[in-house]
């Protein structure tokens, strides 16, 4: 009984991995924005970043 469950589970894991790879997912956290105006190319400073994961230098010896 356990073996059958494990086999089904393994197929799901493998399938999930294949789907993830095929769809181009990744493990990194990235924020999405929409409707960035074309004017950003002329004026890069006008771009408003999402500060949710704003991260600065945190440490080191």
């Amino acid at each position: 009984m356990f073996k059958k469950l494990y086999l089904a589970y393994g197929v799901l894991v493998l399938g999930g991995t294949g789907v993830a790879q095929y769809n181009g997912w990744s493990l990194d956290r990235v924020n999405q924005l929409k409707n960035v105006p074309k004017s950003v190319r002329d004026n890069p400073g006008s771009y408003r970043s999402v500060y949710g994961f704003y991260h600065h230098y945190t440490g080191g010896k």
Partner: protein
């Protein structure tokens, strides 16, 4: 056949005869139709000769007030393996191991066509037992019977403490036998050795709930305690199968990983170097790159930042922007690298390279908007930004591998624990792991 001859006369049919105990006069019931050798008077606890019409007294024994009555009352009928059996006898027996007395109970079952069978019960664990017709062959710490090998579990001196009902042998209280058990779960091979003979029997583990159903007993059976010698493992032979499945899956994972690696384009679509000078006269640090093309179906994008930071850091706010749709992926990456020497030796922290994989980016024309940050007092840092289209994410394969490994480990651990619990009660207990106090 019936050509005028009279019907055949048979010997008189023995019935469930009602007799009286010669010691105390109480009624004695004989259920086994002449099979019993001895029968116990439950009133005065005398063991009587069942084959003697006068029921000669063979032994009288004392009964402690703490003596518990049989869980299946004498005279109860139940269906085991498709045959009805009646409980005709009961006994409590015990062994002493390291000064501790362990009791178990045995029931004698009878069917006039199929003969006698036995049930044993120990701490809620039941066994369905028949006497062997063939002789098993005994080896070193094991026995073989009908092509199956049984491992030696325990040898002990068994004493009969209390008896009730009828027995097909000459039972006596305080009679000893050397009992040896060999196990091959769910079966068990047992030998009972007295001065005159050896009897072998084969037992099959049975769950209390099945006994209760078979005999239609009220209430619930006693809860089993611990693991019994031939109790079947809930995990048992699945373990090997699961590791075989794991190896199969791991191999497939490896192949999938190689396949994705080979078929991903990993093509560099953009590569440029820059120099960051912080603390410059206040101007706009952010800039945009030239437009580059991301081709093919929706896939990931890997952005690698390489900076020659030497005990320094640089932080880059990135935005990958689709020129046409205005969709953007926004993230910040730090590249820092520190190193030195101390009392333990040389050390280093961080890396001069950082990679991030942006997921599910559709094809189109893109550019990067980059806003670097750094320590204002630091000299200029040179860095390069490389964009690759369609890379394999090895992290997924790592996660998948662990996801496959962990259940296999958990199941194996449960199996090992169960078997350790089983053998801890035997003559061959497992070696203690670590410093657990069992």
């Amino acid at each position: 056949m019936s050509t005028g001859t009279p019907p055949l006369t048979n010997p008189p049919k023995p019935q469930t005869r009602a007799l009286n105990c010669p010691q105390c006069g109480a009624a004695i019931v004989l259920r086994s139709l002449g099979h019993a050798e001895t029968v116990v008077c439950s009133s005065c606890h005398s063991i009587l000769d069942a084959k003697d019409p006068n029921l000669q007294v063979l032994q009288k024994f004392q009964v402690a007030t703490s003596e518990v009555p049989p869980l299946i009352p004498l005279g109860t009928r139940g269906k085991l393996r498709g045959t009805d059996y009646e409980v005709i006898g009961f006994q409590r027996r015990s062994i002493k191991v390291e000064g501790v007395r362990y009791d178990w109970h045995e029931y004698v079952l009878f069917n006039p066509y199929k003969g006698t069978r036995y049930l044993t019960e120990y701490c809620g664990h039941w066994n369905d037992i028949t006497v062997c017709k063939e002789l098993p062959s005994v080896g070193f710490a094991q026995a073989t019977y009908l092509g199956e090998t049984y491992k030696h579990f325990q040898t002990a001196d068994a004493n009969t403490n209390y008896v009730l009902g009828e027995f097909p042998w000459q039972v006596r209280v305080d009679e000893h036998a050397t009992a040896t058990d060999y196990v091959s779960p769910p079966r068990m091979l047992s030998s009972e050795k007295t001065a005159n003979e050896v009897t072998w029997s084969l037992g099959e583990y049975t769950y209390g709930t099945d006994i209760w159903k078979a005999f239609q007993l009220p209430g619930t059976p006693p809860e089993p305690v611990g693991v019994y010698e031939n109790q079947p493992s809930p995990v048992s032979d699945n373990v090997k199968g699961i590791w075989a499945a794991f190896l199969g899956f791991a191999f497939l994972l490896l192949i999938a990983m190689a396949a994705f690696d080979l078929t991903s384009s990993k093509g560099t679509v953009f590569d440029h170097s820059y120099v960051f000078q912080s603390g410059e006269p206040k101007g706009e640090a952010s800039f945009v790159t030239d437009i580059f093309d991301l081709a093919g179906r929706t896939a990931n994008v890997e952005i690698t930042t390489s900076a020659n930071v030497d005990n320094a850091w640089i932080y880059l706010n990135y935005a990958l922007i689709n020129q046409d749709t205005g969709q953007a992926w926004d993230f910040g990456r730090e590249v820092s690298y520190y190193y030195g020497r101390d009392s333990d030796g040389s050390w280093s922290e961080g890396s001069q390279k950082d990679s991030v994989i942006v997921p599910s980016v559709p094809a189109g024309h893109y550019y990067l908007r980059i806003e670097p940050e750094g320590d204002s007092k630091h000299p200029p840092i040179g860095y390069s930004v490389e964009v690759k289209r369609g890379v394999p994410v090895f992290g997924f394969f790592g996660i998948a591998f662990l996801a496959l490994l962990i259940p296999a480990i958990v199941i194996t651990w449960r199996y090992i624990s169960f078997e350790r619990a089983r053998w801890s009660e035997s003559d061959h207990p497992p070696v203690k792991i670590g410093n657990s106090e069992d």
